[in-house]
């Protein structure tokens, strides 16, 4: 027995090392050129003094400034609050999705993912039109009850908007974790007399905790890096807006902006490493496999479940409703609803300037395609090889999650401008292709995670059996591995596609002519003029619809496993 096992294993290892090594090297070079080096070029400013020598004095100064200490504290505190409040919404919804089965469940899953997609600028305007100090809700409150609620004021407003925006991360991760729990564990507990809340507290909660924590940490990172919400609410005493404002002020090279970027990257990476520790525990639940523990519900229970879900989602989808109303409006000024409606905005964006929509489909589609291929390759190397450099590969592939879009964009301009890229005939930054690359780079962490999670559930013995029977590596991959991880691949690709549709911060810096612009750029253009807000909203609606369709298809085809794309 021993000999027959040892011989094929040895054969496999020799062949694998050579090709795997080449793949690893190629991926490392790719990530170095398109991720690490541009970022380093920009952030070097934070670590260099006047004579371009390495120094930590800027960091020292950062901690001495009351404004920055305040911003740091505010960012950490608001991130923490977003996780807490987000959990109140997310965990019950996750339980509903993972444990119950009912008609319209896929619709619920789709709607629950939409809060992640709030188009830039118009999302802000819509929020203000609905929840702002002169928004629909407050106008009604003042008319009926003579008071108003400052939803959007200061740090409270930031936490509110971010909670409604990011809670799906927690929900999806927790749902995956819950649905991976082996039903037999809970049945055993029940047979020993443990029921209801006690069952939840003693058995379910600990088992679902890893996924929940992974989702919470991801939410925390997104919240502290979030630029759009604080700028929209004009609250600037947070790290991300301070970095952005300082980096993008003309006339002075403000070192502090770059220092703050490095601090943000550091905080995000630290959170990622902490999340990974808990992810190790999460795999424990998946290896057990197990039956689908969801049960069909109806009647009174279904009614309450739907009521709760409807209320939670109604709050989160208010901005989307606002964007929709705005897209149909001609005049909406200090009134509960628009006073003049029109369909001209849709005529404008669908027929006069359709290139925004076409470009988005092209760029996001290509980026998602590249990300799926790269994500699969990276996940394969991380899980199936024993090469040196795996941790470096993992870190580089995850780094973009922590880097602000403007930093990456400026890095690309610094690295790729001024010389003709081989085979292209002009600098990379003058083409539309650079947008595909930056989207692929920024969304790679999601597909890597999705492919990683999917591949983890495929035991290596399945592949070894195939190779034992004579299939070569490529055939094994195509006939055995790929079908098994297909769900994760598609889910990861769809997430990359969906989040690229509304990417803004890198886009603005890298678009060199309007004809190359995607939807988010189009929204930016329209939002510069008084009549443009409605047309911008129409583009926003198109983006939301595209995302909605994509998400619906994912959940339809791949069920709860689609949530694995958001895992860390």
């Amino acid at each position: 027995m021993a000999t027959t096992e040892a011989a094929p294993a040895l054969r496999l290892r020799e062949k694998i090392d050579w090709l795997q090594g080449a793949l690893m090297a190629a991926l490392l070079v790719l990530l170095f050129v398109f991720v690490l080096y541009p970022v380093a070029r920009v952030l070097w400013v934070a670590l260099a003094d006047e004579n371009s020598r390495f120094t930590l004095i800027h960091f020292q100064n950062f901690f001495l400034r009351p404004l920055f200490r305040e911003a740091l504290w505010n960012s950490l505190w608001s991130g923490f609050l977003v996780v807490i409040f987000g959990s109140f919404l997310a965990v019950p919804l996750a339980y509903v999705i993972a444990r119950y089965d009912f008609r319209g469940k896929v619709l619920l899953q789709t709607l629950a993912t939409l809060p992640l997609v709030v188009p830039p600028f118009v999302g802000a305007v819509a929020f203000q039109q609905i929840l702002g100090r002169s928004g629909a809700v407050n106008l009604l409150l003042m008319r009926w009850f003579d008071f108003s609620i400052p939803f959007m004021d200061g740090l409270t407003g930031v936490v509110l908007v971010q909670t409604l925006h990011f809670f799906p991360f927690i929900m999806l991760n927790t749902a995956v974790s819950l649905s991976n729990i082996d039903a037999s564990l809970e049945e055993m507990a029940q047979s020993m007399g443990c029921h209801g809340l006690r069952l939840f507290r003693r058995v379910t909660l600990p088992l679902m905790l890893p996924g929940f924590i992974a989702g919470s940490l991801l939410t925390f990172i997104r919240a502290i890096d979030d630029l759009g919400t604080p700028l929209m609410l004009n609250y600037k005493n947070l790290l991300a807006p301070q970095a952005y404002l300082r980096i993008t002020t003309i006339g002075i090279d403000d070192v502090d902006g770059y220092v703050i970027c490095v601090v943000l990257v550091f905080l995000s990476l630290a959170s990622l490493l902490a999340a990974r520790k808990y992810l190790g525990l999460a795999e424990y639940a998946t290896v057990q496999g197990g039956r689908d523990a969801s049960r069909r519900i109806a009647g009174k229970k279904l009614f309450f479940v739907l009521l709760f879900s409807a209320l939670a989602l109604a709050a989160a989808l208010l901005p989307h409703a606002g964007i929709f109303l705005l897209s149909l409006s001609k005049v909406w000024s200090y009134s509960v609803l628009p006073t003049k409606f029109t369909l001209d905005n849709y005529t404008e964006i669908l027929f006069r300037v359709p290139h925004f929509i076409k470009n988005t489909l092209l760029y996001a589609g290509l980026a998602a395609g590249f990300d799926v291929i790269l994500g699969a390759a990276i996940a394969f190397l991380l899980l199936r090889s024993r090469l040196w450099g795996r941790n470096l590969l993992d870190a580089l592939a995850t780094l973009p999650l922590a880097v602000p879009g403007v930093v990456l964009a400026v890095g690309y301009i610094r690295v790729f401008h001024g010389w003709d890229f081989p085979g292209v005939g002009k600098p990379l930054t003058s083409t539309w292709f650079v947008l595909v690359i930056v989207y692929a780079a920024r969304r790679l962490p999601y597909t890597v995670r999705a492919c990683y999670a999917a591949l983890q559930q495929v035991h290596v013995s399945l592949e070894e059996s195939a190779q034992n029977l004579g299939a070569n590596r490529l055939r094994t991959f195509l006939r055995v591995t790929l079908p098994l991880i297909g769900g994760g691949l598609v889910a990861g690709g769809l997430i990359a596609f969906v989040t690229s549709c509304v990417e803004l911060s890198s886009t603005i810096m890298l678009v060199t002519r309007i004809e190359y612009g995607p939807i988010s750029y189009g929204i930016y253009i329209y939002m510069q003029s008084p009549l443009g807000r409605a047309a911008g909203a129409a583009l926003g609606v198109v983006a939301i619809v595209m995302v909605g369709i994509g998400t619906y298809l994912t959940h339809r085809i791949f069920g709860a496993r689609a949530g694995s794309a958001f895992r860390v």
């Binding site: 006047e50 009351p66 203000q128 002169s134 993008t248 200090y334 401008h417 939002m527």
Partner: protein
């Protein structure tokens, strides 16, 4: 391998093919689409065979873009409102010197008020004039029973507390010029008093200049400090807003410049000539553009009752451009660190002051009244204190140190922050005490 190289060469073909247009003029601009689309259409029909390519960026991003791409420029024209952006680029050596034909320049005066229309060294040219003013939302004001404002000083009145909006001067070249106008019109000390008082009345301070008209149009805030064409074009498009030029205001030109080393130098020069000649100038009268031409003779051909900066004395301020650009970075940073980033404390201090003044006005006991009043006056002084010496702001050594990496900037900013925080806290304390007394 073969498939890969075929794919990459296909990509290369696509990318290069897409840029093989006949004669392109690439323009980096921050102007809204109504303006650049109109000009693109008009220019292309006048010069068939030339395509105008627009690269739309905010002013700051546009300057960064030109700096980052200076090794191999891709843009031909830089076209924005703010004179300080042009100054910055000129100092960096990124603009091309050009002398437009004499017949064109002859029709444009050298100055508007005291402000030169073109750059003395011929690196940028004014093509339209803009003034600054106040824009308000009619629905909002009537619902909140507020009168429309007229002057900058109105912004300091208690009744407008929380109803105003402005964009930070560091983020908006045009707002910076408004701030400078106020400082030059009322003097450094009184100017900062007004700015701090108005700052306390601001509901929000936005980070992009279009945030202000957006907030006013949507009715989020009642009154905003804006550049004229935002107000005028909003009115023209049927929004329930109105606009006024205060009597002490500054009119400055919006300009166009040719980028140094532009790929299509001929096309760029033609475009500049077009902008400065009659057909280009007439476009400015369109209601969705709503700007003021630099050719005085043209106003006779324009719409009736159109504001004419050459006739009506829209000025009133002898604007000193040198002074403004010299201390620009310091003024912007100062505003940010004592107003923008400390906005909550400033608002609270002024709320307390207004409350105390109201209480003092109502109280009957005269002695307590006096004491309360003196406390409030002291609070007012603290909450409106000019945070820095005027001479220092223009001192060449300090300015240079501020712009460099020496750490002087961080030091000065920390000083301002700490002083501001202390002042506003003390002001609030005094005002609360006064309110307590006057009960």
């Amino acid at each position: 391998m073969k498939r890969w190289s075929l794919l990459s060469s296909m990509f290369a073909l696509c990318l290069t093919a897409s840029s093989l247009h006949a004669k392109e003029v690439v323009i980096v601009t921050s102007f809204p689409k109504e303006l650049f689309e109109n000009y693109k259409k008009a220019f292309e029909s006048r010069y068939p065979g030339t395509t105008v390519v627009i690269n739309s960026k905010q002013t700051n991003a546009g300057v960064t873009y030109l700096r980052e791409t200076k090794a191999k420029p891709e843009a031909d024209i830089f076209w924005v409102s703010a004179p300080d952006a042009f100054q910055t680029l000129k100092n960096d050596g990124l603009l091309e010197k050009y002398a437009p034909p004499k017949e064109i320049l002859a029709k444009i005066p050298a100055k508007i008020g005291n402000f030169p229309i073109h750059d003395a060294d011929g690196t940028y040219f004014g093509f339209a004039i803009s003034g600054y003013g106040l824009m308000w939302n009619k629905n909002y004001l009537s619902a909140n029973k507020l009168a429309a404002p007229r002057e900058w000083t109105d912004l300091a009145s208690a009744k407008y507390y929380g109803h105003l909006v402005i964009s930070a001067p560091s983020r908006s070249g045009t707002t910076h010029l408004t701030i400078e106008t106020i400082l030059q019109a009322y003097g450094w000390e009184k100017g900062w008093n007004l700015l701090l008082n108005a700052g306390g009345n601001m509901g929000a301070i936005t980070e992009r200049s279009f945030g202000v008209p957006e907030a006013v149009i949507s009715g989020q805030y009642g009154i905003g400090v804006v550049i004229d064409f935002f107000g005028l074009s909003a009115i023209a498009s049927g929004q329930p807003v109105d606009f006024v030029y205060p009597s002490l205001t500054s009119v400055v030109p919006a300009s166009v410049a040719i980028v140094k080393g532009a790929p299509n130098m001929e096309g760029a020069k033609t475009f500049v000539n077009y902008l400065l000649s009659e057909p280009g100038q007439m476009l400015l009268f369109s209601p969705d553009i709503a700007r003021l031409p630099v050719m005085p003779d043209l106003y006779a051909k324009g719409p009736a009752n159109y504001p004419n900066p050459f006739k009506t004395k829209m000025g009133g301020v002898d604007f000193n451009d040198q002074l403004a650009s010299g201390r620009r970075d310091i003024v912007n940073s100062l505003y940010d660190h004592v107003i923008t980033f400390r906005h909550k404390e400033l608002k609270d201090a002024w709320a307390a002051i207004y409350k105390a003044e109201e209480a003092a006005a109502k109280s009957k006991a005269p002695k307590i009244n006096d004491e309360a009043r003196s406390l409030v006056a002291e609070a007012r002084k603290l909450a409106a204190q000019a945070p820095m010496d005027e001479k220092k702001a223009s001192d060449k050594e300090i300015v240079k140190g501020f712009q460099g990496k020496s750490g002087l900037k961080a030091q000065m900013e920390t000083e301002w922050e700490n002083a501001a925080r202390a002042n506003y806290a003390k002001a609030k304390e005094l005002a609360d005490k006064a309110a307590g007394l006057a009960k």
